[in-house]
C-alpha cells in the first residue's frame, strides 16, 4: 500500500488529456463503458413523462433542503445525538482527518476498513491515516482494485472503470499472494471476497460515506450492491460516517423519489441490492452493530458555493455520475485527466469550491456546453450555466463585487481582456467596424500563420478578400 500516485490539481490537465486521447485502447474502454451505462439508464426511464416529473420532484426536494440547510443540519444533529450518534463538524479536510484520527487513536485502532466514500477521497483520508501509522483498506471491489494499483478512482460510481479485466487479472496475480492469473470475473471477485472478509473481521473501525441524511428521523441512508458497506457499518466496533453538509433532506418520505432517481440514473438499476438505513449504534440487548457511531459533517468549500444563488445549485447533486456518463469530454479523456477527486461535469463545477478556481478553472473550459449533463441530471442542476459562470469568474477582475470566490480572476490576462475590449468597441460602433474591416481585408496577407490552439490541428484564419459590404455593392441591381 506504499505506492501512491499524487493527483495534482489541474495545471497539467491538457497534457493528461492528450495522453489519453493518444491511447486508442483506453479510449475504447471508456467509450464501451459509457455506452453501457447510458443504455442501462435509458432502459430505466422508458416513460418520458414519469422521468421529467420525477426529476422535477427530485429537484424541488433538493432545493427545499438547501433553502433550509442550517435548520436541517441542526435537526439532524439533535436527532442523531438523541440516538447515541456523535456528530462532528469539519471546515477543512485536515480538520476532518484530525477528527477521524482522534477517534481511531482513542479506541487504539490499527486497521480501518472503508466502504465507498468519495468524501474520504476528497480529504485524502487514506494518506492521512497511513501517515499516522493506521492502515486504511478499501473494501468496495472497484476501490480495492484501484488501491491495489496505487491509483485513484476515475469515476465516482465505478472507480475502476478505466481498467480492463486483463489488467485486473494481472494486478491480482502480481499483488495478491497465492493468486494465479485468471481472467474469469467470477473468480476474480471471489479472490477479492476472500481477502476482504478477513479484513472486515479484523478491522477496528469502519468508515463509510452517506448518500442521504434524514433530519426528521436522524437516519443515515447508504445504498450499495456489494454488501461491503453493510460490513463496514456493522462489523467493526466503531463506525465513522463522513459526508458533505449538503447531503441532508428533511423528511423520511423524501427518500423514495431520490433513491429511485439515484440508482436508476447511476447504474440503471431500479434499486440497489442494499438500502441501509442507520439510526444509531448498538442498543442494549442487541448482539451486533458498532458500539459507537460518528458522523463527520464536512464543509470544504461548500459554504462558498452556498453563498451564491446560482452556484448553490451545485450542492443539489446526489452523486449519481450520470453527467459524466453522458459527457462527450469525459467519455474521451476519462476521470484521471481531470486531476480532481470528482471528475466530469459535476467535478468541473464542484472542485473550484474545494480547491479554488486557481488550479481548477481549466475544467470549466473543458466542455462543449452541449448540455447532455443538464438533460440527464436527476435533480436538474443547470451545469452548463454554472460552467459559463465559472469561465467568467476565472477571467473577471479579482476585486470584482459579489460573493467571495477563491481564485476569481486567476485566468485573467491583460492582453486578452484588452483584445476583447477592442472587439467589443469595434462591433458596437458602425464607423469603427467599417474602418477596421476595410483594413483587415486589405491586410489579410499579414494574418499570422500560428494562431495558438486554433492552428494546432486547423488551417489559419484569414479575413475574406472582400467584405460582405463590398460584395453587396458589386451585386448587379
Amino acid at each position: 500500500m506504499s505506492k501512491v500516485i499524487a493527483i495534482n490539481p489541474t495545471q497539467d490537465f491538457k497534457d493528461r488529456s492528450r495522453q489519453v486521447l493518444n491511447n486508442p485502447a483506453q479510449r475504447k474502454n471508456f467509450r464501451g463503458a459509457m455506452d453501457f451505462l447510458q443504455a442501462k439508464r435509458r432502459s430505466q426511464f422508458q416513460d418520458q413523462d414519469e422521468l421529467q416529473g420525477l426529476r422535477e420532484l427530485g429537484s424541488q426536494i433538493r432545493r427545499y433542503s438547501l433553502a433550509h440547510l442550517p435548520r436541517l443540519l441542526e435537526q439532524l444533529e439533535s436527532n442523531l445525538t438523541a440516538r447515541g450518534v456523535q456528530v462532528h463538524w469539519a471546515q477543512t479536510p485536515d480538520e476532518a482527518n484530525a477528527i477521524a484520527l482522534e477517534i481511531a487513536r482513542r479506541v487504539d485502532a490499527k486497521r480501518i476498513i472503508k466502504g465507498k466514500s468519495m468524501v474520504s477521497e476528497e480529504i485524502g483520508f487514506n494518506h492521512a491515516m497511513q501517515a499516522a501509522g493506521i492502515e486504511a483498506f478499501e473494501s468496495d471491489m472497484g476501490e480495492y482494485i484501484v488501491q491495489l494499483a496505487g491509483e485513484a478512482p476515475s469515476h465516482i460510481i465505478m472507480p475502476a472503470i478505466h481498467k480492463t479485466k486483463q489488467e485486473i487479472a494481472q494486478l491480482f496475480a502480481d499483488e495478491v499472494p497465492g493468486v494465479t492469473y485468471t481472467e474469469d470475473v467470477d473468480a476474480l471477485i471471489q479472490i477479492g471476497r476472500k481477502v476482504l472478509r478477513r479484513k472486515f473481521a479484523e478491522a477496528d473501525v469502519g468508515l463509510s460515506g452517506v448518500n442521504f441524511a434524514v433530519a426528521e428521523t436522524g437516519t443515515l441512508c447508504l445504498v450499495e450492491n456489494e454488501g461491503n458497506g453493510r460490513m463496514c457499518t456493522t462489523v467493526p466496533k466503531v463506525h465513522i460516517a463522513i459526508t458533505g453538509i449538503e447531503k441532508v433532506v428533511e423528511k423520511l418520505d423524501h427518500l423514495p423519489p431520490l433513491l429511485s432517481l439515484l440508482t436508476r440514473s447511476a447504474t440503471g438499476q431500479p434499486v440497489t441490492t442494499y438500502v441501509n438505513m442507520i439510526n444509531g449504534p448498538r442498543q442494549p440487548g442487541e448482539k451486533d452493530g458498532p458500539q459507537e457511531v460518528h458522523l463527520i459533517l464536512l464543509d470544504n468549500g461548500r459554504t462558498q458555493a452556498y453563498a451564491d444563488v446560482e452556484l448553490r445549485a451545485t450542492l443539489q447533486c446526489i452523486r449519481c455520475g450520470a453527467c459524466m456518463n453522458h459527457c462527450p469530454v469525459y467519455a474521451r479523456i476519462g476521470g484521471h485527466a481531470y486531476g480532481t477527486t470528482y471528475p466530469g461535469p459535476i467535478g468541473a463545477i464542484v472542485s473550484p469550491h474545494m480547491l479554488g478556481l486557481g488550479s481548477t478553472y481549466p475544467l470549466a473550459f473543458a466542455s462543449t456546453l452541449c448540455g447532455a449533463c443538464n438533460e440527464v441530471c436527476p435533480v436538474k442542476i443547470p451545469i452548463t450555466d454554472i460552467l459559463v459562470r465559472l469561465r467568467n469568474e476565472a477571467q473577471a477582475r479579482p476585486e470584482n463585487q459579489g460573493v467571495p470566490l477563491r481564485g476569481r480572476g486567476t485566468a485573467r490576462r491583460t492582453t486578452v481582456s484588452a483584445a476583447w475590449r477592442v472587439w467589443s468597441q469595434m462591433y458596437s460602433k458602425q464607423g469603427l467596424y467599417k474602418l477596421a474591416s476595410w483594413f483587415m481585408s486589405r491586410g489579410r496577407a499579414l494574418s499570422p500563420s500560428e494562431q495558438g490552439a486554433w492552428t494546432r490541428s486547423r488551417t489559419p484564419l484569414v479575413p475574406a478578400p472582400k467584405r460582405l459590404r463590398d460584395l453587396l455593392k458589386d451585386l448587379p441591381e
Binding site: 420525477l54 424541488q60 480538520e95 473481521a201 450492491n225 453538509i245 438505513m277 452493530g289 452556498y306
Partner: protein, 224 residues
C-alpha cells in the same frame, strides 16, 4: 469559534431570495403509485427478485419448513443460523434433521465472530414486508434476529408473508409510519450481493450472501 458555529454562521449569513415550499411527495405518489391488487403485487415482486438471481418459492404455513429443508438438502447445507427466540426459527429447529445443524444467534458477535464468518452455511430471517415495485425485502433486524444474519452467511433464506407486500417504498413507509420510529438499522434487500466493478461484468456473491432464497408464505387455505 467552533467549526460547527462557523459553518452554520456562514450558511445563515446567506440571504435566500426564494423560500421553496415543501415538495408534494404525497401528491406525486397519489398520482404515480401503481394501483395493483395483491396478486399483481406478488407477481411484480417475484419478477423483480428473479431478475436479480433470487429464488422465490410460494409456500404455506404448513409446508414452508418442508420446502426449506428440501432446498437445504439439495444445496448440501450443513449449518443454518436462526434467531435466538423466534417462532419460525424454533419451528424449523424442531423439524430439522440431524444432517442440518441448527445454530442460534444467542451471543454478542464478539464472542463467536470467527464461527459466524467461517462456520455457517446459511441463515433464516423473517421479513417485515416487501416492496413490489423494486423487489425489495424489508428487514428490521431485532435483538432476536440481528443485522449480520442477513449479511455474513453464504445463503440467506427470507420468510416473507404474502399479505405484507406493499406497492412501493413510499406506501410501505407511510402505511407503517416509519417516520414515527425507526429501528437501529432498517434494510431493504433485493437479491444476493453483487458487483459490476470489473469491466461492467455482473458477478454475484461480492461480500454478502451468494444466494438469496425467498419463501413467500401465503395464508393457510389461500390458493398457491
Amino acid at each position: 469559534m467552533s467549526a460547527r458555529d462557523s459553518i452554520l454562521g456562514r450558511l445563515r449569513a446567506t440571504t435566500l431570495a426564494e423560500a421553496p415550499a415543501l415538495p408534494d411527495v404525497a401528491g406525486w405518489f397519489a398520482q404515480h403509485s401503481r394501483k395493483e391488487d395483491s396478486t399483481q403485487r406478488i407477481a411484480r415482486l417475484r419478477s423483480a427478485l428473479e431478475m436479480v438471481k433470487t429464488e422465490v418459492h410460494e409456500v404455506t404455513p404448513a409446508n414452508w419448513i418442508g420446502m426449506l429443508l428440501k432446498i437445504a438438502h439439495d444445496k448440501g447445507l450443513r449449518r443454518i443460523l436462526i434467531g435466538a427466540a423466534t417462532s419460525h426459527g424454533d419451528a424449523l429447529a424442531t423439524c430439522a434433521p440431524d444432517s442440518l445443524q441448527i445454530i442460534r444467534y444467542e451471543q454478542p458477535i464478539e464472542v463467536w465472530q470467527d464461527q459466524l464468518f467461517d462456520g455457517v452455511d446459511a441463515s433464516l430471517t423473517l421479513a417485515r414486508g416487501a416492496v413490489a415495485e423494486t423487489g425489495s425485502l424489508i428487514l428490521w433486524p431485532t435483538p432476536s434476529e440481528p443485522r449480520l444474519m442477513s449479511l455474513v452467511p453464504s445463503l440467506h433464506f427470507v420468510l416473507l408473508d404474502a399479505d405484507t407486500i406493499h406497492t412501493d417504498l413510499y406506501s410501505a413507509m407511510t402505511a407503517e409510519g416509519w417516520a414515527d420510529g425507526t429501528p437501529t438499522n432498517a434494510l431493504l434487500i433485493c437479491g444476493p450481493s453483487k458487483t459490476a466493478d470489473i469491466q461492467q461484468t455482473l458477478a454475484y456473491g461480492a461480500h454478502g450472501p451468494r444466494e438469496l432464497v425467498v419463501l413467500l408464505r401465503h395464508p393457510q387455505g389461500a390458493a398457491v
